[in-house]
Symmetry: C3
């Protein structure tokens, strides 16, 4: 059976996770009435209902679910039907104690929270396929069901498993990957610290050991874990597909859980969906949100995607769960939409009174419908109902930032040169500069076809395969502009330092290599002379060996005082920049101004705090403009604001906190936000 | 057999834990001579002597204990005889490995420190009853033995147990509590995260799991743990009672260990006793001490109680164990006495040379009797000997602060809105204001008869049963003044959010409910306009929905800028105040000034740093006055200072660091300290 | 068989750990050529090669090692042959799962990092002796092999073991130590907390327990662990000795791993060797290095020793791995040499591309031979080649600092009076003062013959046996000067407080004892009046009881305000100083100025940042001078600089960062650095 790539519903999808099983039937009827009031057209159900659907192993009770789906269907609300396999029932763990996850330290994970069983336990795989099959058989052709929501956030809150089942599968996976123990020994460098293997049965999971475990082994274990989780998804997906032609998704966590290689996962789903929650401690959480949205779109190949979960206000699992302020929910939603989301859903429809997430906000909060949140939910539903024509339009970007889960897995292992170096921090810093400049970004792998981008940035490409380095070199040679941040191109796919030294694989493009890393002491800062200015930087310097590159910035102090800090290399028709330290935001701005010039990019002339992204439709462009500030600003745009149905003729006044979606004829992509 | 409620001894009890088993016999004779010198009339013995009394399972050696008790008896020193069940012997754990406690993470607790076995292990219960019975049979009628000291600090250092024995008992306890799995599923909200139970055998202890375990389950496990510990106490108590009519106690830890619901425990003992240790990092540790003393008195229904342990100087288990300064031990002792203690005992008589607590101070320190500490011990004994007539007098209070162990258990679970919110901190803040104002406080449960109090404060009543909320509403209606701090009345007894939203059960009394919690970011502060002043506050705001309440304070900034911060509601004949943020000390003082006016309370006009509490005897009042400052102060009191046997005629000069106990005729409770 | 005390090679040993097993054969040939270029004459091999030498249990493959040794031999490079027992192969742990180490918390240590098996597992002991025997039989008389390198860093990364094997051996060790349970019960003070033992089989390892485990038990367990590790060494050593007369060493970690009592270990080796790594966060890491070197020399009885490992630049296992700056490697190397090292080796010859330590620097870094590091390696080789005549000369010191591993084990247990007190910190502070004053230091045990020293300092002698206290008293009586810092002489060998109170055993020498410890609150400071100055101090005061001592410093504030802080006691022909607080560096300098006067010591008149140590040869003195600063300094010395082969005639100009080794006739030890 084949399936469409988008659920069959009208306009922008709007709704949230719905858990009628937590409420008496009289509330169900109130719920659907309120959903209609709010313009909800899609709800996700059944995600944590395994124990209520399969009440004992092999005994099913679908009556209540039949009723819920029928009620929704009667009210014109479509269903995103979950498989409940992220949280097996109490009977499952009681019947199959061997299927419990075991941590690195040997702790056997208990029941009572949420979390799947061992990804490698046959009993779990069987049970997951069984319940998915039952659901697909019963509801696979139901007219209300337009989408399948397999599992929930694979890898969260538990993915890695060190149980005997996992170890057995791990050895098979390694045999498949390496073919021979000789190859494994070579790839893992087991000659170091006397780790040579002479028998496959001697290879264990990288559990707690007296010292740091072989990083290549741990990197492979991360790959294995990702693979096993994906196998679990595929098994469920295929079980559903046998009985249903509806599109199938599973909700990712983009930049908020790094355990799944979403480039690979996105190939397995019909439609990409993502969960995103603001990080409350960040008072510019909208930038992290934009990263999530751009990454979600990018892994999905630029196709429209669904924001499967976000929050109407506060979450409950952060140290301080800051509530959203008036208008913030709409700004967040429109930012996702501007970056390619054609569905805006929440966790959750109605705040649950019990359990670990009772303080998580919802479309109907504990305070009920007479509340700011519910009023904004209704208002957002009305706004989205006016944006149906935006659906299916796409986002173009001139810049790609490299985002490589494998590289992050490797970089985040122990015993790197400085604990101050973090991959996410550097990506955020470069992304943030582009966000403030109104320049839209895709994310990409280093092995992707990058020829369409004017600028490619590698803020944290610690692991870089030689073939991928060649791809980057060719990109520059062909005229591209490449910016590489420090501690990149250090190791190959086995976490082995590249022959020739750090960054050597990028020497063609960059015209340098790195003789030595020079981490700074805690709290130390340094200065870089650049274009007549003194840029502030910290945590890191490097001792660069210059090839053909020109020195654009020089260290004024620190261990590399007097030596090259920032270089620019002309290679073929393009340019390769290398930034060997961590400049502060102002310093990075100065550098990127020069980089833009090489790349032929111009920052959009946006007021501070204004976000603007363009979606390109078949017949028109849609500029989504969001004012995160408190003051009214003027934007030079023309077209019709779909939200207010008024026209902007060259100038749009956007009040503090407000949003607009301006339809205009296709632009050339020059000037203004793009 | 019934028993008196107070040990048969003269005057105020004075002494400490005595461990002759750590010393050769020649030291015993020196000890009793020194005890007589110091005025000691009661010592606690045998508390850690199990292995020396029952040398192998079922084989007893009481010879040395006979000798010790006889020696004490000859010297007129009474005995508080311990059962040694807080620390089973090595043979017990060797013979009964299944009785070892298992932690949440699955670690089996070893021998070598101290700590009881599993509260649910039959072998432990049997052994505890056996040794208690043996002791009661042998010494139950001994003339020296005037009190039984069962166990030691139940729940410390280990209470919770996740062993198979505990899990078995837990299921039985749940069956007793809920009757049916349906009731359990409903109470725990197991529909959330798919935790439905279909079989009692599937219900486990809330051990380590991939994410946060069901909070209602954890709350019940806290109740279960408390219940099991109390069952252990009751089993020993009843075994003793079969052979002895002496009063029975077990030493609580009031505000220093939250695992036991002391309101329930106090009903099971004949006389309440408490251990209290200053928190050295707090340079006003006397306020925490006063909380402990008032709480101990309150759980005991206002009856006199025994300070079973405190320290002559430093303890040994804190990060920095600050020694007491000259006079501080006497001030501490008199503060306990002023707040209802009729016995002042120490851990410990003589500093032990070995073991984990060798750096804990004692009545005889390592430096011996030629020491500041021993001189002060002798002096304190002399002081107490002059206070015999105070014994049995009581303390009256016009103010009650709610103190509900169940609520603390619930509030302290994971995933609350902000980790900056702590129950103990708010109680201290409100208590501290009253302490500085010289207003004596009782603690109470929200379901208690509160009609005798002019003011009731709920600084941290996160969990509030609906029936208890009704009780508070009725209290206000009948003319009481109620102050409720933020994050109160949030959940019911199952940690489920109240229908109607946060604080809804108190809407009658308060005239508001809470639409949304607004935790602040780390380090953020805010201001509240109140009575023409700007009060400083932090960590929290709320979005209040006003009912009938008047707005008394408004947020000047922060997420709720412009909205109500502090409200006052006239309800029936009383008033309900709500404080939706955390004001600093000055801010709270301003608020409380207004609250006092509603409640008809007047602060005592005491110099800074002076503590004064009144005990009301049958024939006279006794004002205990303590000068925690370094300067001499004047207090307007009349009567005779029992310590100096001089009379104060309207004015008492109290030197820096000094104490006085003034006997005077009964006062009306108006003016001055009360 | 007996053996020489030094490996048979010419001049100063120079080289590093060499791991040809990580590289293809063509690299081996490049390696030996480069070794010759660099002047390398000794390499350590085979240390992590067990799995490649014994490929299955009992099956050996020495072919590749034959080849490596032959190649080295052909090129005149001597071999320090390792036994690979620090990292048993995968097959070992698979075949002997019972030999895995178990942690205090019960976690079974896995394979995949490095780390030995249980020190008490028979299978491990057998296997270690078997491989050592095989190596000794095969290479014991090989002309290239001049030294045996047993194991690697005993106790790192794992030493303590709580497995059943360890518990069985522990009981035997205790029986041997105590003879009877009565003696054990007395020594451990098991009467405290009811820990009495009635059966040897009930005595367990001090694993995780509900509270703090008996400190005497833990102290003995530290002794036992040290003993078991040493037994493992001895077993291998004796196995080798049966077949080889080459000297045998194992590499210590001096002041960087405290688990081994190096005073005992040094008696078992033929030649002492040490590994030292700068602590990067310390910007005067050269002082910690000097401590390591002086301690290594001292445990070895002043004999020449080998620096078995240090780094050419950064390491990889610290939070921030700061690279060495130009010249720093040579300064470090010469400082070790100046303090007695006759061999300068590195971990490692060539940076490994894979594994947990790939970011550790090497003699050939990842950047290859065209690098600063390799150029400096060649230069250092040349320098050392000119210092052959220094070999065998010795270092004299007038000052001893007490360094007692047992005391550190005891002091570092839980529940001491203040967590701010650390033994290493006080040693560093006193040592640093002497380092800056150019006064060379030995380390010693309190029971050593100290009569040759003018000054003995006890910065952290918490545990002091009575007999050792007597030794110190006699030292003073005979004319010595003793300085004792606070929290010393507190307990005996069983961690039991000395009868008579704290510091009582040193009352003869010091003329005081300590009535009470007075730790300060976090962050509090205090002042001490001393010689008309006000010295700043923090963390600690004490309440001293004065005997015959004179008060030299008095507390100006804090809990002991007005009382004695620093005392000086004339006893016999000498003086005993007591410092009851932690003065800052300036305060300590003021105190030590007075102490020097008593001891007849004079600081060397060295420019700031200049280190100078004298080695005394048979025919000449060798002054090793190191300028850690950046400016050129003048030193008043005469003689020939062996490095530059120029002569200094009364004045040596030493450039910033430079080193010199000046040969001069024997001096009287007066004036200048000594």
């Amino acid at each position: 059976m084949s399936s469409p790539r988008w659920p069959a519903l009208e306009g922008i999808a709007y709704g949230g996770d719905y858990t009628p099983e937590q409420w008496p039937r009289e509330v169900w009827h109130e719920d659907v009435a309120l959903m209609r009031e709010a313009g909800v057209n899609l709800v996700s159900i059944g995600i944590f209902a395994w124990g209520l659907l399969e009440t004992r192993e092999g005994e099913f009770d679908f009556g209540w679910l039949d009723e819920v789906i029928a009620l929704l269907h009667e009210n014109g609300i479509k269903v995103d039907l979950g498989t409940p396999t992220a949280s097996p029932p109490a009977w499952f763990f009681a019947n199959h104690p061997d299927a419990r996850v075991i941590t690195r330290d040997g702790v056997v994970m208990g029941f009572g929270a949420r979390g799947m069983a061992s990804h490698s336990a046959p009993a779990y795989r069987d049970a997951a396929v069984r319940i998915a099959t039952q659901l697909a058989k019963r509801y696979g052709e139901h007219p209300a069901v337009v989408l399948w929501h397999v599992h929930n956030e694979y890898g969260v809150p538990v993915g890695e498993d060190y149980s005997p089942h996992a170890v057995r599968e791990w050895r098979l996976w390694l045999q498949e990957r390496y073919g021979s123990l000789d190859a494994l020994n070579a790839a893992w460098g087991t000659a170091f610290w006397g780790q040579h293997y002479g028998d496959w049965e001697h290879v264990g999971a990288p559990a707690a050991a007296p010292s740091v475990v072989n990083p290549a082994q741990r990197l492979d274990f991360a790959r294995f874990t990702d693979h096993q989780l994906r196998e679990c998804f595929i098994a469920e997906r295929d079980a559903i597909r046998a009985h249903s032609d509806r599109p199938i998704t599973t909700n990712f966590m983009a930049n908020q859980h790094g355990g799944c290689d979403l480039w690979a996962w996105a190939r397995e789903v019909d439609v990409v969906s993502d969960d995103h929650y603001l990080w409350a401690a960040d008072d510019e959480g909208e930038i992290g949100l934009a990263i999530a949205a751009d990454l979600t779109r990018s892994v999905g190949g630029g196709n429209p995607w669904i924001l499967m979960e976000h929050s109407t206000s506060a979450v409950n699992w952060q140290p301080r769960n800051v509530a959203k302020r008036p208008g913030e929910m709409a700004r967040n939603s429109l930012s996702h939409l501007g970056r390619g989301a054609d569905g805006i859903l929440f966790f959750q429809w109605r705040a649950g009174r019990s359990g670990a997430e009772k303080f998580h906000s919802a479309m109907i909060p504990h305070a009920g419908t007479e509340s700011r949140v519910f009023r904004e939910v209704v208002d957002l539903g009305a706004k989205l109902s006016r944006l149906g024509e935006v659906r299916g339009s796409r986002v173009d970007a001139d810049v790609a930032i490299l985002w490589d889960f494998e590289s992050f897995w490797a970089q985040d292992l122990e015993w790197r040169p400085s604990e101050d170096v973090g991959h996410a921090e550097r990506i955020r810093a470069y992304y943030e500069r582009l966000w403030r400049d109104g320049i839209t970004v895709d994310f990409a792998l280093p092995g992707h076809d990058l020829s369409g981008y004017k600028l490619v940035i590698a803020p944290a490409q610690y692991l870089l395969r030689s073939a991928d380095a060649d791809n980057l070199n060719r990109y520059v040679e062909a005229g591209g502009t490449l910016v590489v941040s420090f501690f990149s191109a250090v190791v190959d796919e086995n976490d082995a330092v590249h022959a020739g030294g750090f960054a050597a694989p990028l020497t063609p493009a960059l015209g340098i290599h790195v003789e030595e890393h020079l981490p700074l002491r805690e709290g130390d800062t340094c200065a870089v002379a650049f274009d007549g200015q003194s840029l502030a930087a910290d945590i890191w310097q490097e001792d660069l060996v210059l090839g053909d590159a020109e020195v654009r910035g020089r260290y004024l102090d620190g261990p590399a005082a007097g030596a090259a800090a920032i270089t620019r290399n002309a290679y073929g028709a393009g340019h390769g920049w290398y930034v060997s330290t961590r400049p502060d935001a102002a310093g990075l701005a100065a550098i990127m101004t020069e980089v833009y010039a090489d790349a032929g990019l111009r920052p959009a002339d946006l007021p501070a705090g204004v976000e603007a992204v363009r979606r390109r439709g078949a017949d028109a462009d849609y500029l989504v403009a969001i004012n995160h500030g408190t003051e009214t600003v003027s934007l030079s745009v023309s077209g019709e604001d779909l939200l207010t149905q008024t026209s902007a003729d060259g100038m749009l006044e956007l009040a503090g906190g407000d949003v607009a979606v301006i339809r205009s004829p296709h632009t050339a992509g020059e000037g203004g936000p793009h």
